[in-house]
Symmetry: C2
Subunit: 375 residues, 2 copies
């Protein structure tokens, strides 16, 4: 199927993507909550359409470049889920002016709130804001019981050009566990933190229209979403070895892989050399905490996608990958010029190394889908 394809190449299995997307839409329906897919993993209009079941409904993005791209593609309800700074206001305004898109920004900082209010008034630019609260990861977000929460909300509330939308949190520490009970606890911490923050704001007559939480693990294992308006999740569309290692998916769910060629046999190193190195696979090893043989990815047959014995990519340089062999018979089975497919550690990081997907379905190549990388 891939004989004439130049390697390395990012392959996307459309049927697996569709299954994953359907599973999470069903989960949202079951929990009676809105799923706002995070497109930071996929960065693709075609994938977004599948994630959203064909509707141009609410989405999440990680860069303003994604916001501009999805705006141009017809999306009108876009949450930019990274704390904004004043040097990005002009870019936000340009997207709003060009596409009449609702871009929802977020911050956890009073100075930024004041600068945003100044900008919005000076430029006659209507802005929409969430406040980010911390639910235990201690990355972005202020404590839901902090005085700053009210101060920031009051700045937004007082500015005629700013529409205050609500509160958001992300339980990113859910990726640090492979224990479903622990992940469920983090899901509850997400829920209780935004509800606490929204309640405090409501007490001063500032209402939250959006109470947003989420990550793939907390959405999957959370028990209770009552009081929330939406969940965000992204990597579930593709899954990867990091999710597999945490028992969140099966190997057969992983929808992206890297097609690579064997470019050399190292007899001294007892290894295969491939053209999938750090620049194709990334140096992310996040599966290895719970899956010590993950290396830089599982090595699979390019057509059947069965793992080849116990082979992993064990070392990466810029353009070279090295696969250590447990048996020299692999030299015959995988001659130089033959191909493999590699299941990635972390789909977000691996996919970001490519400008497009080569999309396959039922053993056929359907075509290319573009990605919007960078900033």
């Amino acid at each position: 199927m891939f004989d004439v394809i130049e390697t390395p190449r990012l392959i996307l299995d459309k049927a697996r993507l569709e299954n994953n997307a359907q599973r999470f839409r069903d989960l949202a329906d079951k929990n009676n909550i809105c799923l706002r897919p995070h497109l930071k993993t996929a960065k693709s209009l075609e994938v977004a359409a599948i994630a959203n079941g064909g509707r141009k409904s609410a989405i999440t993005v990680s860069t303003l470049k994604e916001a501009a791209y999805f705006s141009a593609g017809g999306y009108r309800d876009i949450l930019y889920a990274v704390g904004i700074t004043p040097n990005k206001f002009a870019h936000v305004k340009a997207i709003i002016d060009q596409h009449k898109t609702d871009i929802i920004l977020m911050t956890d900082n009073l100075d930024v709130a004041r600068a945003a209010a100044d900008f919005a008034m000076r430029e006659n630019c209507p802005l929409q804001f969430l406040i980010e609260v911390n639910c235990g990861e201690n990355r972005g977000g202020i404590a839901p019981d902090s005085p700053q929460l009210l101060e920031i909300a009051r700045v937004f509330d007082a500015c005629p050009e700013i529409s205050f939308k609500g509160v958001l949190t992300h339980g990113g520490h859910s990726y640090g566990s492979d224990d479903k009970q622990r992940i469920a606890e983090i899901a509850e911490a997400e829920r209780s933190s935004v509800i606490e923050a929204a309640t405090r704001l409501s007490d001063i007559n500032i209402q939250s229209e959006i109470l947003s939480v989420g990550s793939t693990p907390t959405f999957l294992f959370g028990k209770n979403f009552a009081g929330l308006t939406e969940v965000r999740a992204g990597v579930y569309m593709f899954f990867d070895l990091a999710q597999f290692s945490r028992k969140i998916c099966q190997l057969e769910d992983i929808a992206v892989s890297v097609l690579a060629s064997i470019i050399g046999h190292s007899k001294e190193g007892r290894s295969l050399i491939i053209d999938g190195g750090a620049f194709a696979l990334s140096k992310d090893m996040s599966a290895n905490n719970f899956l010590p043989d993950a290396g830089y990815g599982y090595v699979c047959d390019p057509v059947t996608m069965e793992r080849l014995g116990r082979l992993s990519v064990n070392e990466v340089h810029q353009e070279h990958g090295t696969i250590h062999l447990d048996d020299e018979a692999w030299f015959e089975r995988l001659p130089v010029g033959s191909m493999i497919r590699i299941l990635p550690n972390h789909a977000c990081a691996t996919a970001a190394n490519f400008d497009n997907y080569l999309v396959v379905e039922n053993g056929n190549i359907l075509g290319e889908w573009q990605r919007v990388n960078r900033w």
Copy 2:
């Protein structure tokens, strides 16, 4: 200087680049050997011009996309220093046909040599080949005393459309040491391996016009280059913390950095949150073996480039970086919205995250230089 610049952004200090390039050209002159700069780090015509002292002389590349880009830019002597496979022959032919460029390919495999000879004859496509030998890294390359060396060379020698050019090795294990004596030994292993291979070929009347070795460390600390025709090196143009950690450069030599903004203050995490995460800095931590406080990069003042105390980027997520603080005074010194510059672990990996450089010189922004990423 950077107030209106949207972050994250890759900054290139032109004066530092020029100093590094001059130093390595001087070293080549002193050793009376040709320097064939490796553009896998810089991937830029403007940087190549500085590396080559304004001449369009011999260069090395790591992808065929680089080969096409530098061919289009007027370079005519290009070594593609990754083992070729048959699925890339058509791309090579397209570049040769379009630009009349000499692209020198390499392999260490008899099947590939035969496939190349078949392709060259069938397509009337003149190809040029080096054979890659192993000098101890056990990645690419066959042993210089192996029977295959002669078999591969005979295939090339017998094919009227293939010009056999010589032998090449790369002592990549030089990056595994910070000991100058050990690196000098690896440099000698590079030299002796290609000379041994070329001598064996000469004994069967196959002459090597090119005897190519190199890496930045082995070029810098090698004692003897007699009998070689050229050295390859790349990261020296920019340097990075990995090179600094191995005492190969000073901090003041590092020519690339990432401009990032403080996007949040985490009181609970006692940390600064920045918009320079894994997608801007990469997950490469190769400096940390010999420089345990490198983290994902040293945090510097954006203008003076002095390191800020002992601050490093300690954690990275996709778009977020986290800087742990030893003193809460940093919250005042670095308010949300202020900027820093980060010296990278590994210049090749960090620069690859950006499509262009913002070039600065003497405190002024000169403009943008483009990069050619991907494949």
